[in-house]
């Protein structure tokens, strides 16, 4: 693929997306596996509960693979994902 090239910009509103590990709709539907979810408050000797808001954070590290098909936007129940086409 050509380099340099413009990439889509993906913004996730973390005020709206609070339980991504529980919801996981965008993670499952993305054909290009652009997203990544990780526990941001890992504690020693404790397993974190995905139902607790804010413990897990969704990001889109592989936006280079995003085709702007917008399937994640359609499936998001809280309207937290915005994609700016390149």
């Amino acid at each position: 693929m050509d380099i340099p090239r413009k990439l889509p910009k993906i913004t996730i509103d973390h005020e709206k997306c609070m339980v991504p590990f529980l919801c996981k709709k965008c993670l499952e539907i993305c054909p290009q596996a652009v997203f990544w979810v990780v526990c941001i408050k890992e504690e020693r000797l404790k397993e974190m509960d995905p139902r607790v808001p804010g413990l897990y954070k969704l990001s889109a590290p592989r936006r280079d693979k995003c085709t702007v098909c917008n399937k994640c936007i359609e499936v998001c129940p809280v309207d937290a994902i915005k994609i700016e086409a390149p």
Partner: protein, 282 residues
Amino acid sequence: MCWLCDQFGDMEYGNGVWYLNPWNYARNMYKIREPGKVFAVREAGPEVVTEAGLTPPGLINAIEKSREEYDRIIEENKERIRLRRQGNQVLPLKDAEKVLELCSPMGLMECMCRKGVRAIDERNEHEYTCMGMGVGMLKWERWPERYKGGVKFVNVDEAKEWTREMDKRGFVHILMLFGAPYIGGFCQCDYPDCGAIRLAVDFGFGTLKSHYVAMVDYDKCNGCGICAQRCQWGALKFEVTSEKANIDLFKCYGCGLCETSCPRGAIELVERKSLPALAEVW
């Protein structure tokens, strides 16, 4: 020669192949770090490997900047992997089974990559698709979030059976180093969910190819196409003209998934070093 064999191989033991050298399993590897550097817990954690595997710092942004910047970051990361001795290597099933005989302890666990990329929550031994290796595993209870659902320690026979099952399902076996020769994980990878395989396929670094390449015996191949579904590297395709499988040996990572799936035994793994033009293709 692959740089891991160069540094950790022994001609007397394991024929120069680093992961078949029993000394690499016998030492107290967990304590061996770069001289003068403090061991950081998070550095050894699988999530760091996978996060970095998914997005080496600056690499994605570099795609928007320039070819030079992109190439520079890839070179920088290759160098970083060598310095931290964090390389991974693909193993075909037959070599993986030899490793399982050498390494202890071994514990089945959830896959960090699938957890991150697809939010898959593997809760028990029937679901685990990753194996943690080495003494670091004995401390798993301190980090229940990292090992959601716990760990199932297995003996050699159970480990082999599990690995064969993973092979049947179509996962690539990758031996993962958390600072060579300390082996931290025996990953069962699948594009695109897995960090190690994705870095290799998308950017061409991070995971070393295996010591083998897969070659098709055109007399035996009947063009059934079963193997073509298994290649994760874009190396094997069904060649319409000859109606047989065709493998680009420069793209082949030598994982052997095509070999283990061929009902006619038409695919053979041959040693990489036996092919002069491939001997330095890692």
